[in-house]
Amino acid sequence: MTENIELQDSNHDFTHKHLLGLADYSKDDILFVLEQAKYFREILDRPVPKVPTLRDKTIVNLFYEDSTRTRLSFELAQKRMGADVVNFSKGSSSVKKGESLKDTIRNISSMKIDMVVARHKSPGVPHFLTRCVDAAIINAGDGAHEHPTQALLDMFTMQQVYPDLTGKNIAIIGDIAHSRVVRSNVIGLLKLGANVTVCGPKTMMPAYVEELGADVSYNIDEVLSWCDIAMALRIQLERQEGGTELFPSIREYHQLFGITMEHLEEYPDFTIMHPGPVNRGVEMESEVADSDRSIILSQVTNGVAVRMAILYLLSGRTRV
């Protein structure tokens, strides 16, 4: 519990105050974070998985959008590092009274907050928060823009299978247009030298999808025969309600883009990931999610370690 944490590469000049998105982080920054996360991952396997690293820090988790695992993961990471944590979720306290986000964050900040972890449906909210308060801001998902800690934990998990991701083939399958997980993963993976293909219905690709920098495919067999890792994304069933539907039915989505046990047999090499929560029977068959090819639960465990590393690096410390 009192064991020191040593920076793996103290020569790397990590100067970021915030984590707004991986677009702002260099390859070396990303590798540095992932390297730090290894130490925190080890801590999680100890009998007492706690360190006092953030014991004098106060962190607010500001969640304006439903989240179970990301919020729990951050909270666990914070508590395992001894931080004081307050949670603010939409539906509680002042949001209902119609207080603006700016007023809310400034009020909370007046209570001496060191870091803010923010989730919001509007792209750019973390950037907006940096203009409102001095605290370090960590983006826990801003609309369909970025979800950098998710991408970091995904890359960390991929590294457990392939320590060097250079030249590895990664497929991301699902609703590409409306996914923050895709954007952060594509940015990060390309910086690490991986090959990335996004796959899904054409109606779920953003216009100018090539701008993301990944290759595009509309054929699941094509990408599964190619990839080392296939990451399926949650299809947001709620998007199908109201408005003009982007695909005809869940049934047809599964027929075209669902990963099945037949796929696992036909293409014996790829590993399966999913940021969760899985719609069983939609993105993949239940047996696929539970198969030994799936590393979905490792992603969840690693998420805590990666978030500990980010919290540590952004807490203003260079050494514990």
């Binding site: 609309g143 823009h145 100018y208």
Partner: protein, 432 residues
């Protein structure tokens, strides 16, 4: 806004009509009318004010045919008085205001309320009446009655006339009155829930986009309806390259169509949203588009496809704009900066010469709205803008005359400024 019926303007350089800006003259205004144009005129009356303009240009007063004055209903954003103060600072002596107020300008009494509220101001306000009753997009409003009250055109701006049958009826009915229909061109099914231009930047930022086709398909429909009915369609705040092509072709085909563009659409691109980290002062509708579109705006201005420059002046209070990007209302104020942006993008870049640029501010908007065009001629009403094209100034908050400050140009170094306006016997000198 002092009442100055008798004014001797010294050392001005008229542009427009027979004047090309090379001549320096004095202009004597008596009882609000241009009485004498000459050199080295002497003060004649005891109550004649003398203003030495120091060689400033003077033209017929400028007109902005697309502003939102917000009154009645949204006086926390802007009032007729503050909006007109912003217009005066920008060099505009006349504005046409859009009807998305509360109540909307959909009956004669609201038209007359606005006329009455503005009658003592140096800036003349021309209300644009609604196309539809309650601006609800279903059935046409009392256009003739509103015209009698002072309305100069009809529009449901803020929203499109989405119902094609309503647009047909509106074009037929308004053509009988010789009035244009101004449409906010947007196919709502294609555009929503867009918060910025759908393009490369929206792909990167994960923001739902409004595609150019949402504007273009609506313009194509309106061109066909204008051709079919013989009505006059005016395309509001044009913003895409293909839209300019459509209007250019329609004009070549002899269709009664005109259009306008805002300075921000020939100056800024969607890259600004990324560059400024989701600043809501670059969120407007139509959205900032691409460099290709900006270039097309400039070409359209150069070849005359785009008739007029307007601002779409859209004030919003600080607390309304300082919010999450997707919750922020669309629009920016534009009256104070329109001239400087035009100087930068059109005059200094040699796209338009000064006289042609001025037609976009003076003659064209009034031709579209069938209003008298001010002239620098003895015996005509003095309706003038004094301006320069080279003064460097900073658009600081103290220069904002609007009640709202939602401008992406705040803090910018600009060049060229309206120094003063004269209209309705009132003389306003702009101080930064």
């Amino acid at each position: 806004m002092s009442y100055t019926p008798n004014l001797l303007l010294r050392n001005v350089r008229p542009v427009g009509g027979d004047f090309d800006g090379s001549q320096t003259v004095d202009i004597r205004i008596t009882d609000g009318t241009i009485a004498e144009i000459g050199t080295e005129l002497n003060p004649q009356k005891e109550n004649e004010t003398i203003h030495d303009a120091g060689g400033a240009y003077v033209s017929g007063g400028w007109m902005d045919m697309h502003v939102h004055l917000r009154e009645p209903g949204y006086e926390h954003k802007e009032t007729i008085e503050t909006g007109c103060a912003a217009a005066a600072f920008g060099g505009f002596t006349e504005v046409a205001c859009m009807p998305n107020t509360n109540p909307p300008i959909h009956t004669r009494d609201v038209v007359e309320f606005i006329k009455k509220k503005s009658e003592q101001l140096p800036v003349e306000v021309h209300p644009i009446g609604c196309v539809s009753k309650e601006r609800e997009g279903d059935s046409i409003a009392e256009m003739s009655d509103m015209k009698e009250g002072g309305a100069v055109a009809f529009s449901d701006d803020g929203d499109p006339v989405y119902n094609s049958q309503l647009m047909r009826v509106a074009l037929e009915y308004s053509s009988m009155l010789e009035m244009p229909i101004i449409n906010h061109e947007e196919d709502l099914k294609l555009s929503r829930p867009g918060h910025m231009h759908e393009g490369k930047v929206s792909a990167r930022l994960g923001i739902d986009g409004t595609p150019g086709i949402a504007e273009e398909t609506m313009i194509a429909r309106d061109i066909l309806l204008a051709q079919f009915t013989g009505g006059h369609i005016h395309v509001a705040h044009i913003s895409t390259a293909k839209a300019v092509d459509l209007v250019r072709q329609a004009k070549a085909d002899g269709i009664n169509i005109t259009t306008e563009v805002c300075p921000h659409h020939f100056d800024l691109t969607d890259e600004e949203i990324e560059r400024r980290d989701f600043d809501t002062n670059v969120k407007m509708h139509p959205p900032l588009r691409t460099q290709e579109d900006v270039n097309a705006m400039i070409e359209g201005l150069a070849d005359g496809t785009i008739d007029a420059i307007c601002t779409d002046h859209a004030p919003h209070a600080i607390e309304e704009k300082e919010v999450e990007f997707i919750y922020a209302p669309n629009g920016i104020i534009g009256l104070e900066t329109a001239w400087s942006i035009s100087v930068k993008r059109l005059l200094d870049s040699d796209v338009l010469d000064l006289q042609t640029l001025l037609t976009k501010f003076v003659e064209k908007p009034r031709e579209i709205l069938n209003l008298d065009i001010p002239k620098i001629e003895e015996g005509t009403k003095a309706n003038l803008t004094l301006f320069n094209v080279d003064e460097e100034w900073t658009f600081s908050e103290s220069a904002v005359r609007s009640k709202s400050k939602n401008s992406p140009y705040l803090g910018e170094e600009l060049k060229g400024r309206a120094e003063a306006i004269y209209n309705n016997g009132r003389f306003v000198i702009n101080e930064i």
